[in-house]
C-alpha cells in the first residue's frame, strides 16, 4: 500500500526541482492539450482541431484496386475538401491491415497485417496531408520467434510495442508482445503467460497465452493486456466459425497485469468472452482501466483497490447479453466521465456515464449503421468518428454490409452527424482503425 503523504514528502525533499519543473512545464498533465484519448500518455500532442483522419482500410477483391490502403480524410472544417478523401496509399495486396498505431513522436504510422504478418510504416510528418510508405517489415514471424498476426502498434518511449494475435506453430491465440525500434528494427519478444509459464503469480491458472491489446500506466509501472483469438479463427468465415463448438472455445478469457519496466507478468485475471480494447483513465488519481468483453457483452473495470491490489470486476452490460450485440471498441473521454461503446451486430454506439467507474450508467444510444466497429474521439470530446468494418471474413454480407467513416459532433447529450464517406461507393474497402494528424505537430 502506498502512503501518498509520506511518498510525496520524500520525493519533494529530494526532487523539489523536478516537481517544480514538471508543474512549470505543464507536461505532467495530459489534459492541457488537445488530442484523441486512446494514445500513449507521453505521445506528442495535437494542440488544436485534428486536421486529418487516417483510416486503415482493408482491400476488397473487385473494389477499386483491391489492396489494403491508408486513406486520408480532411477533417478541417474550413477546408474546401472537408469531409472528403484527399489521399489514398495502397500497400499492395490484401493483408488484413486491421490495426496499427503511431510512434511516440507521431512521425510514423504503422499498419499491421493480421493475415500476412507484414507491417507497413508510413511517414506522416513530412506532409501530413500526403502520407508516404517508407518501410515494410517482411520478417516479423521469423524475427519474433514465431509470432503471427501483428495487431496493435503502441508507442513506448522511442519504441513500438506490437501485440500479436497468433503464432506460427498452431495458429491459435497463443501469442506475444514484440518490441521494435521506431525505425522498424526488431528488439525483443515477450510471450504471453500460460498456466505453465505463469506458475507462482496470482491467477496463473487463468493464463491462456492469448493476446490482443496492451497499454500502459507509467506512474504505476504497469501494463495491461487483453486477449482475443488466433489466425485459425479470425481468418475464418464467422458464420462457419460460430457453428464450430471446439473452435469457439479458442477465445481469450484473460487479462494480464504486467510489470511494465521488467516486462514480466504480475497477475492474471479471469475475464471471459474475449476482452478486447484496453483504455486507461487519464486522471492523475484514477488508477483504473476499462475493457469490454466481446462475446459476453460485459464492461470490465481493472483497478487498484484500497489495499493496493489490482482487481478485475465486471461492472456493466452492453445491450442484451441474451442476444449479444458484440461490443468491439470503446473510447473514454479525457475527463474520464464518458465511455463510448460500439457494438458490431446492432451497429449501435452506447454512451455510458462512468463518473463512478464501478457503476457505469447508460445515458444515450444511437444506431450508426448496419454494422459499426471503431470509435475515436477528439481530446475535447466534441467530435467523434466511427468506422464500420470488424474483419474481412466477419463483416456482414450483402445489403447489411455498410462500409463507412462517419463524423459526428457530441454535445454531451446527443450525436449530430457532420459528414459521412461511403467506402464502398468510393471504391476503397473496409475501414477500421482511425488515427488523427495535424501539421501543428511538426511546426516547432
Amino acid at each position: 500500500m502506498t502512503d501518498r503523504t509520506t511518498a510525496t514528502r520524500d520525493r519533494f525533499r529530494y526532487g523539489a526541482a523536478a516537481v517544480a519543473l514538471v508543474a512549470a512545464a505543464g507536461v505532467g498533465a495530459a489534459g492541457a492539450r488537445a488530442d484523441e484519448t486512446c494514445q500513449s500518455p507521453y505521445m506528442a500532442k495535437i494542440t488544436g482541431q485534428e486536421e486529418y483522419v487516417y483510416v486503415l482500410t482493408l482491400g476488397v477483391e473487385g473494389l477499386g484496386d483491391g489492396s489494403d490502403k491508408l486513406v486520408t480524410v480532411d477533417a478541417r472544417p474550413d477546408s474546401k475538401t472537408y469531409g472528403q478523401v484527399i489521399d489514398v496509399d495502397s500497400v499492395g495486396g490484401r493483408h488484413e491491415t486491421h490495426h496499427g498505431g503511431l510512434t511516440d513522436d507521431r512521425r510514423h504510422l504503422w499498419m499491421a497485417g493480421l493475415d500476412t504478418s507484414r507491417i507497413f510504416i508510413f511517414d506522416i510528418a513530412t506532409d501530413p496531408a500526403n502520407p508516404r510508405m517508407v518501410k515494410t517489415i517482411d520478417d516479423f514471424v521469423e524475427k519474433s520467434g514465431g509470432v503471427v498476426g501483428p495487431h496493435g502498434a503502441y508507442a513506448l518511449p522511442g519504441r513500438m510495442l506490437v501485440s500479436g494475435l497468433s503464432n506460427a506453430e498452431d495458429k491459435t491465440g497463443r501469442t506475444a508482445l514484440v518490441e521494435y525500434t521506431n525505425d522498424g528494427e526488431y528488439i525483443a519478444t515477450h510471450w504471453m503467460p500460460t498456466a505453465e509459464t505463469a506458475k507462482g503469480i496470482p491467477g496463473a491458472e487463468f493464463a491462456d497465452g492469448y493476446g490482443y491489446d496492451a497499454r500502459v500506466l507509467p506512474r504505476k509501472n504497469v501494463m495491461l493486456s487483453s486477449s482475443f483469438t488466433g489466425w485459425s479463427n479470425y481468418m475464418r468465415a464467422f458464420g462457419d466459425l460460430a457453428q464450430d463448438g471446439e473452435a469457439m472455445k479458442r477465445f481469450g478469457q484473460s487479462m494480464v497485469l504486467w510489470d511494465l519496466h521488467a516486462r514480466q507478468p504480475k497477475k492474471v485475471f479471469h475475464v471471459p468472452g474475449a476482452p478486447l480494447e484496453v483504455r486507461w483513465a487519464w486522471g492523475e488519481d484514477n488508477d483504473y482501466a476499462f475493457t469490454a468483453a466481446a462475446l459476453t457483452s460485459k464492461i470490465w473495470l481493472v483497478h487498484e483497490d484500497e489495499a493496493g491490489e489490482w482487481q478485475a470486476t465486471e461492472v456493466g452490460t452492453v445491450g442484451d447479453p441474451a442476444n449479444p450485440p458484440i461490443p468491439v471498441d470503446i473510447s473514454i473521454s479525457a475527463d474520464d466521465k464518458t465511455l463510448f461503446v460500439d457494438s458490431f451486430m446492432d451497429g449501435t454506439v452506447r454512451v455510458f456515464d462512468v463518473s463512478d467507474p464501478k457503476a457505469p450508467q447508460q445515458i444515450y444510444e444511437k444506431r450508426i449503421g448496419k454494422q459499426v466497429n471503431m470509435v475515436s474521439q477528439s481530446w475535447d470530446g466534441q467530435r467523434v468518428y466511427f468506422t464500420s468494418s470488424l474483419l474481412a471474413n466477419w463483416d456482414k454480407k450483402g445489403e447489411d454490409e455498410d462500409q463507412f467513416l462517419k463524423a459526428y459532433d457530441w454535445d454531451g447529450k446527443e450525436l449530430k452527424e457532420r459528414f459521412a464517406i461511403d467506402f464502398k461507393a468510393e471504391g476503397l474497402g473496409r475501414p477500421h482503425l482511425m488515427r488523427f494528424g495535424a501539421r501543428s505537430l511538426y511546426a516547432g
Binding site: 502506498t2 502512503d3 501518498r4 509520506t6 511518498a7 510525496t8 520524500d10 520525493r11 519533494f12 525533499r13 529530494y14 526532487g15 523539489a16 526541482a17 523536478a18 516537481v19 517544480a20 519543473l21 514538471v22 512545464a25 507536461v27 505532467g28 500518455p41 507521453y42 506528442a44 511516440d104 513522436d105 512521425r107 510528418a125 518511449p157 522511442g158 519504441r159 518490441e179 525500434t181 521506431n182 525505425d183 528494427e185 528488439i187 525483443a188 507509467p218 506512474r219 504505476k220 509501472n221 504497469v222 510489470d259 519496466h261 521488467a262 516486462r263 514480466q264 492523475e284 488519481d285 505537430l441 511538426y442 511546426a443 516547432g444
Partner: protein, 227 residues
C-alpha cells in the same frame, strides 16, 4: 531555463543528499527517494529483469566544453552512460532531463560502486547557440554543487555534424525561430555502446534509471567473471 536558475534548483536537491546516506538503504541509496504521485511503485531488484539491446549507440565527432574534438563513441565505450539531448535555452522539458542527471549524480556520490563506473552526458542539439563556452557555463553551474560521477557537457560544431547524430539516436526535432519542438529522450548506453533503454517524460524516475544502471553493471560483472 538559465544556468543560474537551474543551479539554484539543483542546490536544493543536493542539500538533502547527506540525509540519504543516513536514511537510505546502504546499497541502494536511490530507494531513499521513495514513491511519489508521479512514480507510485517500488523499482524491481537490479538484475531481476533483462534490458534488451535496442540499437547501437552511434559514434560521432563532438566538442567538449573546452572546445576539444572528442569521439562520442570513444567516450561511451567502457562505461555505463546516461545521456540526454537538450538545448540550454529550452523552457519546456529539457530541464527535466538535466535535473534527472543531477539526481543520478547525487546518488552516485553516495555509492562507490556507481561513481567509478557511470558517467553522465548532456549533448546539445542547438550548436548555433550552445557553443563550448555555453556548455562550460552549464558545467560550471552544476559541477561545483557536489561530488559524483563524471558529467560531460557536449555540443557539435554545426548542424552538418549534428544531423547524423540525431538521426542515429532517433531524436527528431523541428525548429521554429529560436525554439525547438522535440521529444525529450534520455538514453541508457552500456559499456559495449549499445542503447539499452530510452526514457521520456513520464519515465524520468531516478530510482528506476539507477536500477537499470545497476542491472547493466551486474551484467558486466558476470561477464568479467566468466572471462
Amino acid at each position: 531555463m538559465n544556468a543560474r536558475l537551474l543551479a539554484t534548483l539543483a542546490a536544493g536537491l543536493l542539500s538533502v543528499a547527506p540525509a540519504l546516506a543516513h536514511d537510505g538503504a546502504p546499497h541502494r541509496p536511490e530507494l531513499a527517494i521513495g514513491r511519489s504521485a508521479a512514480f507510485d511503485y517500488d523499482p524491481p531488484a537490479p538484475g531481476s529483469y533483462r534490458l534488451a539491446a535496442i540499437k547501437a549507440a552511434a559514434d560521432a565527432e563532438v566538442l567538449d566544453h573546452r572546445g576539444r574534438r572528442v569521439s562520442l563513441g570513444g567516450l561511451l565505450a567502457g562505461k555505463v552512460t546516461v545521456m540526454a539531448f537538450i538545448y540550454t535555452r529550452c523552457a519546456d522539458v529539457c530541464p527535466l532531463a538535466t535535473v534527472l542527471l543531477h539526481e543520478i549524480r547525487g546518488i552516485t556520490a553516495l555509492d562507490a560502486t556507481l561513481s567509478g563506473a557511470v558517467q553522465l552526458v548532456t549533448l546539445s542539439f542547438d550548436p548555433e547557440n550552445d557553443t563550448p563556452e555555453v556548455m562550460a557555463m552549464q558545467a560550471a553551474g552544476l559541477e561545483h554543487l557536489g561530488e559524483g560521477a563524471p558529467w560531460h557537457f557536449l555540443t557539435t560544431d554545426g548542424l552538418r555534424a549534428l544531423r547524423p547524430i540525431l538521426d542515429a539516436y532517433g531524436q527528431p526535432l523541428a525548429r521554429n525561430g529560436g525554439e525547438y519542438a522535440h521529444e525529450l529522450r534520455v538514453f541508457l548506453v552500456d559499456p559495449a555502446r549499445r542503447i539499452r533503454n530510452i526514457y521520456s517524460v513520464g519515465f524520468l524516475d531516478p530510482r528506476m534509471v539507477v536500477t537499470d544502471v545497476r542491472t547493466l553493471l551486474g551484467e558486466s560483472a558476470r561477464q568479467a567473471a566468466v572471462r
